[in-house]
Symmetry: C2
Subunit: 456 residues, 2 copies
Amino acid sequence: MIGTNDIPGFFAAEEDLQREEHLFLTYQFETPFEPRLAAATLCSEMSTAQWKRPGVTEDLRPRFGAKVVHLEMMGTVSSPWLAHATPHDQYYRCLVRIAYPHVNFGTSVANMLSVVAGEGAFFCEAIKAIKLLDIEFPASYLQDFSGPKFGIEGLRKILGCHDRPIFFGVVKPNIGLSPEPFAELAYEAWSGGLDVAKDDEMLFDVPWSPLTERCRLASAMCRRAEDETGEKKLYVANINADAAGLLNQHDLAVKNGAGAVLVNALAVGLPALRMLVQHATVPVFGHFAFIAPITRVPYFGISSVVITKLERLVGCDIIGLPGFGPRMFTEEEEVLDTVDVCRSEFGNLKRSLPIPGGSDSAATLPSVYEKVRTLDFGFIAGRGIFGHPDGPRAGAMSLRQAWEAIVRRIPLEEYALEHPALEKALQVFSGSQGKKKALSMTPLHNFISAIHKVQS
Amino acid sequence: MIGTNDIPGFFAAEEDLQREEHLFLTYQFETPFEPRLAAATLCSEMSTAQWKRPGVTEDLRPRFGAKVVHLEMMGTVSSPWLAHATPHDQYYRCLVRIAYPHVNFGTSVANMLSVVAGEGAFFCEAIKAIKLLDIEFPASYLQDFSGPKFGIEGLRKILGCHDRPIFFGVVKPNIGLSPEPFAELAYEAWSGGLDVAKDDEMLFDVPWSPLTERCRLASAMCRRAEDETGEKKLYVANINADAAGLLNQHDLAVKNGAGAVLVNALAVGLPALRMLVQHATVPVFGHFAFIAPITRVPYFGISSVVITKLERLVGCDIIGLPGFGPRMFTEEEEVLDTVDVCRSEFGNLKRSLPIPGGSDSAATLPSVYEKVRTLDFGFIAGRGIFGHPDGPRAGAMSLRQAWEAIVRRIPLEEYALEHPALEKALQVFSGSQGKKKALSMTPLHNFISAIHKVQS
């Protein structure tokens, strides 16, 4: 813990700082200590914890220290959200905005993560629980990132699809099929109206389905479906691999006809994903596997907004997000915040296509569309297409029929009367998965609203 | 959720399975549903969630499905540990051991993480909170990993130090010093008896301290200290960077004299770290920055035991661990478990040197040694050396003097009477940082003991 006299060295007025020289970090934290002391100690641990040499008169804080520019008490709680805390009478729940001089780490994502979510922030004795809610980047910092190579517009151009959501399907059974039946299922779905068929995020380059063979057969079927339907189609190959082999997997997939590639963003690591994007010649899909351990805890970790922002920063053209409904354990507002992050202004970076997913089907399309209130999203189904009792062609048709109903402002149930694929989909998938019940609100969203206030 | 009839397809007797073909995963989870149904649904979501094509008679589960081999109810709780859960009367807290056919993902760490900590495990509607506690690897699987290139024995050989812990110092002030004063401080510490001086995990290749210049000056001082003391010394350069530049940073550091390199394991990503190790010609230090968001929550995420095991798997010679004392928010037993993981038998992989760290100094050396009960650990101090009132030479001397006192079985306070460096260290650092108070036990360790029972 720093001394009381040291607190002012870790505070600053935002208007006195050079905006372009800082990232602005928003954290929520819980502390049993006086909030100003706790926030200043946090800044100290995250930057210049020792700001002078013994026996030397110097102060490294003005140039290199993190600084509190806004601190707000949100309330008190009688026990902190995490275990491992010493008993105290009360804990202050605070929102802090910190200006961090980015000269300390530059434009390396690995370096940035080491600081904004490193030992200083997460092992600060004064702070018992902490969550990184947002990072604001100055425009000059963003110039070092090329972002998505294709973005939403690029994808739409490839697909020739400009006036509706893009329909994605995850070929199922996800694990265990050899390339022939796999490609056949994808073909059926494309023929039924699917735009993009993709590998499951757990389907890798495996003995019973080697990546090259799968790409070769699936892309041949993709071309056939294009010829027959007159619509452009895409096959997304899962090239997830350790960094040493990632670029080679990309090259193999593309050489064998894949139109886009998928990796699990945090499992390969954002820095390796950035390397992939720099090398890639096709759109890159970042999937959310391995994100939940970091994002799903309400008062600890890193928000999904931050992770999504970083995925766009390193260049994902398509971002798979935990979507709506009880299975995804994500507040509706949080899903919408991540959808926004993909699409809102972010330096000169292209927009990423958000896909809020999770047990979706024709039955959930209206409610998802109603929530996202834009055409610029990907709608994804797995069992909703490939578990359709009449097969994936009918599964894909049910999605397109649901969309037709929405466009014509006809209730799904009514439109289903003359559209058997949709009718069966509603029968089978309108159970608990179809309902997309709203989750109960938690106080987290008060904080997110507060951030928006702070930043505007 | 799967149907009741589908449960048996996700259960197996361990003795009926080919051990070498599976990883064994231990999770703790909380569910409001019948535990067998919840555990089977977890297996389903993590593997063959759809195990047949509509209209085809097939079952992909026997070969590709995850299977429960042990399930144990640990108790009930009235509310789950995480928010976002629907209200129920009670939640079962369970321990499950799952056999996972590794043919599904092979020996890629990125693929393995996508499965064992992916969407299936962390977005399973039946499971409200989940923590991955352990992964057991069969010997044949481990053969694909080369592990640490140097290991504890290699490090000891480089340093010519075989009969005591290895003393590490993090040069402080950590941020803001140019290479000249940085190298001078390191030299002072080496001269006082430090074995290894290292960059702070937040000190990168930055304008005011370019990596090449820092390596050049620090390693020159390292050679000088070696000549003067007759002891071998090491300088560890922080080469943390995005994957595309990581190998180049390694080459620059080594070419300019660094004797070892450091990266923040989860910030660069384990798959990129593995790529680095394959390329490295010097020992690799994996630091724990960015690990806490994943590991620090008691009933959610991934245990530090798993992360440490993976760091050894991908080849860290030295593993920086959250250590003892209240600042590190880690139970004593958990620290000891991670120390064990570095050193216990693990296929043919070399042992990694564990460094349980966190606000240590001469004052805490006896208690840390008493806890780890081995000579094979690294003892690390930052301010405990570089914040010593008489400078880093005295700081490093205080560590060596504390060790002499331990070897001679003389209480530190007594030995300090004739050793001023130690005396001052005790005066300054014996406050709250020196006490290394035990944290209160949480039920988590009941589970860890339970795992050991399950596995033995």
